[in-house]
Symmetry: C2
Subunit: 382 residues, 2 copies
């Protein structure tokens, strides 16, 4: 039993979301994360609500098991410590505005020249190249400019934001992949590389069918509410007590659905193929709901599941955190405080691996500069 990234040390200069999300994944897989924070303030998210015992649950969810040292990268003493850390670490991760670390003398070229083993991972709003490289960005700016808002929401109404901050999160995940690939490459070359991930680029990278449709038809897709744009039926339906989802992704599943609902539509030319079903989607939805409105969500989810049809509830986050499948997968973990008591609940590690511990608890998130002595001792050991 061992974590796959044990023994790797990540020097983490990141704050807020994209960078800390990336290094949290690396931490959950066993890497040692040394979080280098601004003296006095530290990561902004230490001040993000909600709080428990004056500690931020948001910060804890993104930084558990990491170590913290506060360093002023303008001060010579602290720069000396930082450079000893660079000498020992495998990876440097940063999400400053492009140019910030260069001005401090720690841009890619300078770091690579002195510490060639360092894999240098950078995530920023627009990347380190291009006309907008220096512009500030937040999640919402790249969700809007990157296209996902234009296909999310109800047709004919104003676009909506994706409720999760996928502008940051997806970029942090691509950065994580680049860092791991560069570490693999380093085993052969002995040299680190720079990885430059932009939040805006990352949004385009997840649009899949929307890019295909736009490039072939010239017509960008519009929001389709709770429906899949090109598969029918693949949407929400009303039962007697609320909404649930049916996703009949092919003709065979649609035939099974017709049997389960006692609707003789599988041979009807208006519904026999997916293109025909998309053509007549509104009528089909009314016909299906004419049946589903008679019984509860639980009734239909059980019945359709037994028939092998993909279906399920629409759950709020409280329900998700109590979902038996989620609990069976250890996907809600307890983040401990320094006394070993449960302080917060957080999402578990979705990367389940053989011969690898997947504990139900996580070590605490660090106090600002809370591991300074320990980190300095580790440097002494040389």
């Amino acid at each position: 039993m061992s974590l796959p990234l044990r023994g790797y040390t990540i020097l983490d200069l990141t704050h807020v979301l994209a960078g800390p999300f990336c290094t949290q994944i690396l931490s959950d897989m066993g890497a040692e994360i040394i979080k280098v924070e601004r003296p006095g303030i530290g990561d902004d998210t230490r001040a993000f609500p909600p709080f428990k015992d004056k500690k931020s649950a948001y910060f804890a969810g993104l930084n558990h098991g990491k170590k913290s040292i506060a360093l002023d990268l303008h001060a010579d003493d602290d720069k000396a410590i930082f450079e000893r850390l660079l000498d020992r670490a495998d990876v440097l991760v940063e999400n400053f505005r492009p140019g910030v670390l260069e001005r401090l003398g720690y841009g890619w070229e300078a770091v690579h020249a002195r510490f060639p083993q360092i894999v240098y991972g950078a995530v920023s709003g627009f990347g380190h190249t291009g006309p907008d490289a220096k512009r500030p960005a937040y999640d919402m700016v790249v969700q809007a400019r990157g296209g996902v808002m234009s296909i999310t929401g109800e047709k004919g109404r104003e676009p909506v934001r994706v409720g999760a901050s996928i502008g940051d999160i997806v970029a942090g995940m691509f950065l994580c992949q680049g860092i791991l690939a560069a570490l693999l490459d380093r085993q052969r070359s002995g040299k680190g590389r720079k990885i430059d991930v932009a939040m805006l680029d990352s949004q385009l990278a997840i649009l899949e069918h929307a890019v295909a449709i736009t490039s072939i038809t010239g017509k960008p897709p519009v929001p389709s509410g709770a429906r899949h744009p090109t598969i029918t039926p693949f949407e929400t339906f009303h039962a007697s007590d609320g909404l649930f989802v049916i996703a009949a992704g092919n003709d065979k599943l649609f035939e099974k659905l017709c049997v389960a609902l006692q609707l003789p539509l599988a041979q009807d030319e208006r519904f026999a193929t997916n293109p025909a079903r998309c053509e007549n989607a509104r009528l089909l939805k009314r016909l299906i709901e004419a049946v589903t409105l008679d019984q509860t969500r639980a009734h239909w989810i059980a019945k359709l599941t037994n028939a092998g049809i993909p279906t399920g509830p629409i759950q709020d986050v409280g329900q998700v955190m109590k979902d038996p499948q989620i609990l069976a997968r250890n996907m809600v973990v307890d983040v401990l405080d320094k006394y070993g008591r449960t302080a917060f609940k957080a999402a578990g590690n979705p990367i389940k691996m053989s011969d690898c511990p997947d504990l139900p608890t996580r070590p605490p998130a660090p106090d600002l500069d809370g591991n300074r002595a320990e980190i300095l001792r580790w440097l002494e050991k040389g």
Copy 2:
């Protein structure tokens, strides 16, 4: 100049989205992807619209640069070829329903016993453990059950689906991270591992603030339309010619915004802090739009950008694909056909790496079984 994953061979049994998205990332970083498909039909997405010259743009966007061999894993001859491939490959990736490969004799235990070097990556709807392991799932089922739909959409209206298929895509990205970490670990252990990623787990893993809020307050968040739930102003605003985004994430940015809009609100106690601004968000939005409605989006985006305030347009996918920053980052690439002509446009690789080619074109997506002879020759070479 070299791709970081050159020399790694991935045996890819996946179809549709989550798996192919994962192996497309590995391919873009230099791994050799051998796509093993069902004879006759192959990957379902070969039949997904839109088409050009009878080829699916959707399939091309997720499978360019991969090689294809059609194997019937029920037939002894093809099983023999498959096992010679297992002997040579570094990674096996699959997204069948749990149990399918076990029945064919290629479950994790069997493969690990005979081919210990193989990293075995599996992605499925609910994972390989837990009460719902065997249930079928599609993107929409896990978006609904996994909670993201409950925080996406307009307050008081029905939840909407995220327009991009993040149920599949995020799971494919976590799988990619697990595979790369297991390959790093293999350098020390000499042994592969199994990675088991569930689409449902992966949805919970990206909810960040929603998990923190729910665990502390007990109240799951609700959709907040185009607003950030806990930061104000961080939403869309009307200009004279349509909507644009302002994301003033902290007090300093709000002060700059007030100066740029000539709105003397920075010292007003109703708006001086983010909690106060959240409290009075509706009033603040009306006050800001009272000003922004007088000029165009372009005017405000230029003015606020010059003032250092995160802002931007809401672009449709066609506009994103022509965005100067996107083009400067080589984020729209040409997928070639076998004659070297541009066949499709696709999203580029968002993982930009030093000393690494980032070509503006991509090799073709393979015809079904199109690389059989070449793959068999490679096996002969032993």
